[in-house]
């Protein structure tokens, strides 16, 4: 009869063979040879039935233990072989991940600075309760001038170098709007006070040099209610400018001026520092003229059927292109309308950099 030492040497031999197996096939052969129907361990298990109870008590657990050990060893070896095989495969499968992917969408697309800055302006003023109003670029003389208190034939009209469309049979001529102020008239005609609107848009003047282009962008603002005064106007402009330029404070200087549609009228300078390639707003000892504003002229209110003794308000206007150039350090106005892809890639904004007050205007 088999003795325990024989079992022990069988175990040693099988474990050594399993350990030495180099692939899954030889491991399977070993499994069959040991645990298969006629395998060496199975053959031994068959002898248990013929053993006397005493002997079986000893051999039973020993044989079961041997079988489990071998089975475990086979499983582990199988996993190890599979791991090794995978490692070997992976070692052969490397990619040169330094190869470039194609640049698409978000990487190459850009938003024009004028659009971005318009969105910034809208973000600020919408938080202050202003809606965005628009009107046509081709305007009547009446909306562009007369309703805005520019008397017919008055030299104040010549402050605006106007583009005209052909004369009509009735002698009238349409114009390209010289400012977005006609949108204010349209807004006042379309709704009753209280009114809070900003009017961004394209405007046109017959002028072309380093600092003028025949087409440019303006944003105007208008507040009409029963209490809006110059103090409120100052506050609105200060809040806007510091939020827009993303500085903790701005200092403004209001100078009396003249616009036909406001009374009193003012031009506004902002404290700044001029550096070789940029102008820093909110610091320094220099001043920069940045916008025009005033209290809406009583004649303008009368022209749209609003009683100037009951209602009052203020308006302001500034160049979008100009404040965009100031904020983002673009030196030449004419570049804005040149569509040079290199310039746009340099000064343009990433598609998802959507300006919000919550997220900070610029990223």
């Amino acid at each position: 009869m088999t003795d325990l030492s024989e079992l022990s040497s069988l175990e040693t031999q099988l474990l050594a063979e399993i350990e030495a197996a180099s692939d899954e096939a030889s491991l399977e052969a070993l499994r069959v040879a040991a645990l298969g129907k006629k395998g060496s361990v199975s053959e031994k298990m068959k002898t248990l039935g013929s053993m006397d109870p005493e002997t079986r008590k000893t051999f039973g657990p020993a044989l079961n233990g041997l079988r489990d050990k071998i089975a475990t060893a086979l499983t582990e070896k199988k996993a190890a072989l599979a791991d090794a095989a995978l490692d070997a495969r992976l070692a052969a499968e490397t990619l040169d991940v330094s190869l470039p992917v194609r640049e698409t969408g978000l990487e190459t697309g850009r938003i024009h600075p004028v659009s971005q800055v318009t969105d910034e302006i809208v973000a600020i003023f919408s938080a202050m309760g202003f809606s965005v109003a628009e009107g046509p670029d081709i305007e009547t003389d009446d909306y562009n001038f007369t309703k805005l208190n520019f008397p017919v034939g008055h030299p104040a009209r010549e402050m605006h170098d106007t583009f005209f469309l052909p004369q009509k049979d009735d002698g009238s001529r349409l114009v390209l709007r010289t400012h977005t102020s006609p949108v204010q008239i349209r807004a006042m005609e379309a709704s009753k006070p209280p009114i809070r609107v900003i009017c961004p848009g394209r405007t046109y003047r017959f002028d072309m040099d380093q600092t003028h282009t025949p087409m440019f962008h303006q944003v105007e603002g208008l507040v009409i209610d029963q209490s809006a005064n110059l103090g409120h106007l100052k506050w609105v402009l200060e809040e806007f400018l510091k939020t827009f330029f993303e500085v903790p404070s701005v200092e403004l200087r209001f100078r009396p001026s003249f616009f036909p549609f406001t009374e009193p009228s003012m031009e506004v300078d902002v404290r700044c520092r001029r550096l070789p390639n940029e102008v820093r707003i909110g610091e320094g000892d220099d001043w920069l003229e940045i916008l025009g504003c005033g209290m809406v002229h009583p004649n303008v209110l009368r022209n749209v059927g609003i009683d100037p003794d009951v209602y009052q308000g203020f308006a302001w206007g500034m160049g979008i292109d100009r404040i965009a150039m100031l904020k983002y350090g673009m030196p030449d106005l004419r570049d804005l309308f040149n569509a040079d892809a290199r310039w746009l890639a340099h000064y343009g904004f990433r598609p998802l950099d959507f300006p919000t007050l919550a997220g900070g205007l610029s990223s």
């Binding site: 640049e103 030299p155 005209f164 469309l165 804005l336 343009g348």
Partner: protein
């Protein structure tokens, strides 16, 4: 100009010898300027020759005609407590004899262009260069001294804002008449030019004809020179609008016009003439006549009731009555009353002041705008209201969508050349500017494409031809507000395809094609809430500037045209002088249907079936010109509930497919709703691509096939 030490022909030179002209001191350039022998060496030049008088430039706004003379500026400064205004007393000159020339205002029954004309002769004058003090004053402000008589008039123009005119009496024939010009009349002016007149213009004429263009420029024939012995001095008032109109029409910019069209002080007409007489008598001697005055000084007795509270109402600034009265009085307003409301009379030299708001401006600008405290604008009534209109929202969505697809936003001129306009459906006469700034910026753009195409070509000319540009902006179909549209338009050039630009190791650099533009257009529409399946692709319906066979209109039903996409027409590109490959699209943002008013923001419940979807492939043999889109639509329409997705995954023509035919392969995804599709329904109803026999049993497959254009047959041997 920067001067420095340098070597000239081997000789070191520490400076430069200059002529008066080179230094901007005189017009003559007859050699080097010689300084007096005792001129101190090493001292600044300007003080030595007495040119260190500071020049203060004042940009006078068009409303402040009173500040077009030194006196008016002084008055304003005095009101701001900078110095004291000196008002010299003025005694009229007693005339020694009646003025031999008479004056008549003759406007017939037309509106008068002059309310007042005063004239006086000074006889026996000696005209010549004016005295040093007068010449110096004129030169210091850039005026050229001419002769004493003319210099006096120019001096008063700048000193008192009162333009005058002097005639040589010997050259005037008969009396003067102030009247409208006549069509066909011409006038030889002092500037040596002839001007054609008409009846909108006001002139001064004698028996010879027109001698002066009223308020704008004198005539050559009656000008004063060294030989003038008897002079006629004119001081008059003119209709400002007529002056402005005439000046514009004849393109004459004179100091007189500048003042008369803005408004001179009517009350100073006669005093101005007296002042001029005194100066002429002083400088040129002679004897003054009595005045001849035609017309009268127009009265403008404007008294404004001015509540002091108006200052606070408009500015927020609280002021005491004294703070209101003092500056107004110093500015020449006559202020009376002690209560809350003052009576304020407006001086004759302030035509700009009409009402309360003007007085608030006067008070606040003198007190100081910096005294007005910023105060927060009260919160708006509602936070909830949308601040943007639907079209504004669409514009910003379109912008970000296109940029996210890799296109770069451009802003191009709203005007294009006539040829560009005509090539893109424009060129209407009412949209051509009467005064374009350049020949190639003459017409309002009917489309954004010409600007973008030209921009793409400019980039190509600079060496970067693979560009994808877009613009979201206004275009013009006519000159009415409703003819202006907001469009989102893009172009792709060269290899600037949606999936990448230029050469790449993993993919070929293919030229852009109509599908790149189609993708851009459909992306914009998708971002705006219109799915590709709801948009019709109308082949052959794109505008004429697209390639007729490689383009389509994008439509919602037969009427609503959202836009178009495709290759640009080669003839158009040739006419514009640009090269391709070039594709583009246009979307009219105003054309999208208005958003429906919704009762709730809640979405319908989600129905996620627990059952597995199935995918079945079908191949069809179709005529080559069968639009694949129709096949897809037909497949979708076969069972709208069951068919959740149709993908066209193969298109093949060539060997194995009959001439003129194309094999189209669809993958149809079926989503069972209630129960698993039985094999019979799945296979029987929809068929497989294995046998025509089974297909005949399929009710839905028949529908599928029948719905597709006639002539379509199932491809018995699918290509995949």
């Amino acid at each position: 100009m920067k001067l420095g030490a340098s070597e000239i022909r081997g000789v070191p030179s520490a400076g430069m010898l200059c002529s008066g002209r080179e230094l901007g001191l005189s017009e003559e350039s007859d050699g080097i300027l010689e300084l007096p022998a005792d001129a101190p060496v090493g001292k600044p030049f300007a003080p030595v020759i007495g040119l260190d008088d500071p020049v203060i430039e004042i940009a006078v706004t068009p409303n402040r005609s009173d500040c077009l003379g030194v006196h008016g500026v002084a008055r304003d400064l005095a009101a701001a407590e900078i110095g004291t205004l000196i008002e010299p007393g003025l005694n009229p000159v007693r005339g020694a004899y009646p003025c031999p020339v008479n004056v008549r205002l003759d406007f017939g029954d037309t509106p008068p262009l002059s309310p007042l004309f005063a004239l006086r002769m000074v006889r026996g004058v000696k005209n010549g260069p004016s005295p040093e003090w007068l010449q110096r004053k004129l030169k210091s402000i850039g005026q050229k001294p001419i002769n004493a008589l003319v210099d006096v008039t120019n001096y008063l123009t700048f000193d008192r804002g009162r333009p005058l005119h002097v005639f040589d009496a010997a050259k005037v024939k008969g009396d003067l008449v102030v009247r409208r010009g006549r069509a066909g009349e011409s006038f030889a002016a002092l500037d040596g030019k002839d001007y054609a007149l008409d009846e909108t213009m006001c002139v001064i004429a004698d028996d010879h004809g027109v001698e002066s263009l009223a308020g704008i420029m004198g005539g050559a024939s009656t000008g004063c020179g060294a030989d003038t012995v008897d002079v006629l001095i004119e001081s008059a008032l003119w209709d400002p609008l007529a002056i402005a109109r005439t000046g514009r029409a004849l393109n004459i910019h004179s100091d007189a016009r500048h003042r008369f069209e803005r408004g001179v002080d009517p009350a100073f007409t006669i005093p101005g003439l007296e002042l001029a007489t005194r100066l002429i008598l002083e400088i040129c001697g002679g004897e003054a006549s009595e005045l001849v005055v035609a017309g009268e000084v127009p009265e403008r007795d404007l008294i404004i009731d001015f509540p002091i509270s108006e200052v606070k109402r408009l500015t927020g600034l609280v002021v005491a009555p004294a703070e209101v009265k003092a500056p107004l009085s110093l500015l020449g307003f006559w202020v009376s009353g002690h209560g809350e409301t003052l009576k304020v009379a407006v001086p004759s030299w302030r035509p700009d002041v009409e009402g309360k708001a003007d007085l608030v401006e006067e008070v606040v600008r003198i007190i100081g705008l910096d005294k007005v405290e910023a105060s927060p604008l009260p919160q708006a009534q509602s936070l909830a209201a949308a601040r943007l209109s639907p079209v504004q929202r669409r514009a910003r969505t379109a912008r970000r969508t296109l940029a996210a697809r890799g296109l770069v936003e451009a802003v191009t001129w709203s005007f294009v050349s006539r040829q560009q306009a005509t090539s893109f459906g424009g060129g209407k006469p009412e949209l051509a500017l009467a005064n374009p700034i350049a020949a190639d910026l003459s017409d309002m753009r009917p489309s954004l494409l010409p600007g973008l195409i030209a921009a793409a070509q400019r980039n190509a000319d600079r060496g970067s031809g693979d560009v994808a540009l877009f613009e979201v902006g206004q275009t013009f179909l006519g000159d009415r507000p409703q003819d202006q549209r907001m469009q989102a338009t893009g172009v792709r050039r060269g290899t600037a395809k949606a999936r990448g630009t230029g050469r790449h190791w993993g993919e070929q650099a293919l030229p852009v094609d109509a599908f790149d533009a189609k993708g851009d257009a459909l992306n914009v529409l998708a971002a705006l809430g219109l799915s590709a399946s709801s948009v019709q692709i109308a082949q052959g319906a794109a505008p004429a500037w697209f390639h007729p066979g490689r383009s389509a209109a994008l439509q919602l039903g037969p009427k609503v045209v959202l836009g178009a996409f495709g290759e640009l027409h080669p003839r158009v590109l040739k006419a514009l002088g640009v090269s391709g490959p070039l594709v583009g699209f246009e979307i009219t943002l105003d054309a999208l249907p208005a958003p429906k008013a919704k009762a709730t923001r809640a979405k319908p419940p989600f129905e996620g079936s627990a059952l597995q979807p199935l995918s079945r492939d079908f191949a069809f043999l179709a005529d080559r010109d069968t639009p694949a889109g129709e096949l897809i639509r037909a497949a979708q329409a076969a069972d709208r509930k069951l068919v959740t997705r149709v993908d066209l995954f193969d298109r093949y023509e060539g060997p194995g497919v009959p001439e003129g035919k194309v094999s189209l392969a669809l993958a149809v995804t079926l989503q069972p709703r209630d129960k698993t599709l039985t094999d019979a329904r799945d296979r029987g109803d929809f068929g497989t691509d294995r046998g025509a026999g089974r297909e005949s049993h399929g009710r839905d497959a028949a529908r599928l096939t029948a719905a597709v254009v006639p002539g379509l047959t199932r491809d018995p041997e699918p290509t995949t």
